[in-house]
Amino acid sequence: MYAIVTLSSVTSAKRVERALIDIGISCRTMHTPKIISQYGCSHSVRVSEKDTDKVLKLCREIGVKVRGVFVEKNLGKGKTEYEKIN
């Protein structure tokens, strides 16, 4: 399963993405789904759920503010649900 770590700007998202890749964590940046995007628009990093703690630790270390963490649940037929875990 995947976790979506929501951030603010695309710059922060790219920064986290590059830093995660540097430490061997697979990820990609994405435009945050509207339903979980605080304040309307934001950018996120999508990682494997098991890597969530590592991502949060890295964000703290590099000073990037995390808005929220959501687990992505694929309900089939193109529908996705998001559960806030942080």
Partner: protein, 380 residues
């Protein structure tokens, strides 16, 4: 556009660098053709590619300016915009600002405009040797900002920004460096220079295309905005974002231009700013040394500290001389006041301006020799 077959000598790199590394041209086209989405807007693959182009460029700027966080780098469309953002974003009514006597109009004009709204300013005075950096005597309780051009765009004088930075830090005053003439030419380690803000053109020493510029803001600066708009983030909030770089990057960024700028910066990083500086200084040194031998030439650049050399030929109008050099000899220099009234006041050339030859690392000794021969024939 038809390619010109005329051979030119381009000595106007302080206005804009004309010869760029090939990678710069290639990247601009590459971005337009293959990464042409709108960076930070939407999440589709082309938008992500454009975002990657912009982020790569931010990282390269960080390497060049020795800045630790890419978020503190904002792209602007030229240095004038960045300088206006900082100056007008920080200064409020009853604040005081100190500026150097070598400032471009992109600093003097916004400061002057603010003086109509209750901001006061002091132009630091020079001693007999043209030094002004002992600025403590100008500091007042309401001094909020000090602005200094790193290299004067008229005569190439290099300001001791390290000294000014220490003074600003001692008094808790914000320090803005205009690095338009220094970025790419000399080392610019902004955090070590105690600069709270650093602005530069992308299209001069960094070899990017026109329409690009860089503004570094430290975390200490909380500047007001002049432009508000879409930032690709926090769209439900009416106020402009507080966080950088979005706060100062409303609207679509010039991704092709910034991509090209990134390649220009890479060229500077690969070549080494110190090496570029040494090369330009050597060429300028040779030019100055030979110009001194030509009768009727008055030099305003006494020593080569950069690639900029300012001079006049007799009592001739500097603009007429520059036009003549272009029309008859295909030599590109700039005459007049170089949008820098203060610099000309400081060197006493307001009336006729001066001729400025500004070199880049793509100029050659052969070109300088040809130029000197031409000046020698014009001296009469």
């Amino acid at each position: 556009m038809k390619k010109s077959t005329e051979k030119i000598i381009y000595f106007d790199n302080s206005a804009t660098t004309f010869i760029k590394p090939e990678t710069v041209y290639d990247k601009i086209v590459d971005v337009m053709k293959y990464a042409g989405g709108n960076a930070g807007r939407g999440g589709h693959k082309l938008a992500q590619k454009a975002s990657d182009v912009i982020y790569d460029a931010r990282e390269k700027v960080c390497s060049l300016l020795k800045v630790s966080s890419p978020e503190n780098i904002c792209f602007v469309n030229n240095a004038t915009t960045g300088l206006n953002f900082v100056i007008k974003g920080i200064l409020k009514e009853n604040d005081h600002v100190i500026i150097s006597p070598y400032e471009h109009n992109s600093v003097l004009r916004p400061v002057h405009k603010l003086s109509e709204k209750g901001v006061s300013y002091t132009v630091a005075e020079c001693d007999g040797d043209g030094n002004y950096e002992d600025i403590e005597k100008h500091i007042k309780p309401d001094t909020k900002l000090i602005v200094a051009s790193h290299i004067c765009n008229v005569n190439g004088r290099v300001s001791d920004v390290e000294k000014i930075g220490k003074i600003a830090k001692k008094y808790g005053i914000f320090f803005l460096i205009d690095g338009s003439q220094s970025a790419g030419h000399i080392k610019t380690d902004v955090e070590n220079l105690d600069a709270d803000a650093f602005v530069c053109s992308g299209h001069k020493g960094l070899f990017g295309p026109q329409g690009t510029g860089v503004m570094y803001l430290s975390e200490k600066i909380k500047a007001d905005t002049l432009i508000e708009g879409g930032s690709g983030s926090s769209s439900e909030i009416l106020a402009q974002p507080e966080y950088l770089p979005d706060r100062f990057e409303s609207g679509t960024l010039n991704a092709p231009g910034i991509g090209g700028l990134a390649q220009g910066i890479q060229f500077v990083l690969d070549t080494g700013a110190e090496n570029i500086h040494l090369y330009e200084k050597r060429l300028a040194d040779y030019m100055i040394h030979e110009l001194k031998k030509i009768k009727n030439v008055t030099l305003y650049t006494k020593n080569a500290n950069s690639g900029v050399v300012a001079f006049n030929i007799g009592d001739n109008d500097s603009v007429e001389m520059s036009n003549f050099l272009s029309e008859k000899y295909n030599v590109m220099v700039r005459g007049g006041l170089h949008c820098s009234l203060l610099s000309h006041k400081t060197q006493n050339t307001v009336e006729k301006g001066c001729i400025r030859a500004s070199l880049s690392c793509f100029n050659t000794k052969n070109e300088v020799e040809k130029f000197l021969n031409i000046i020698d024939t014009m001296r009469v």
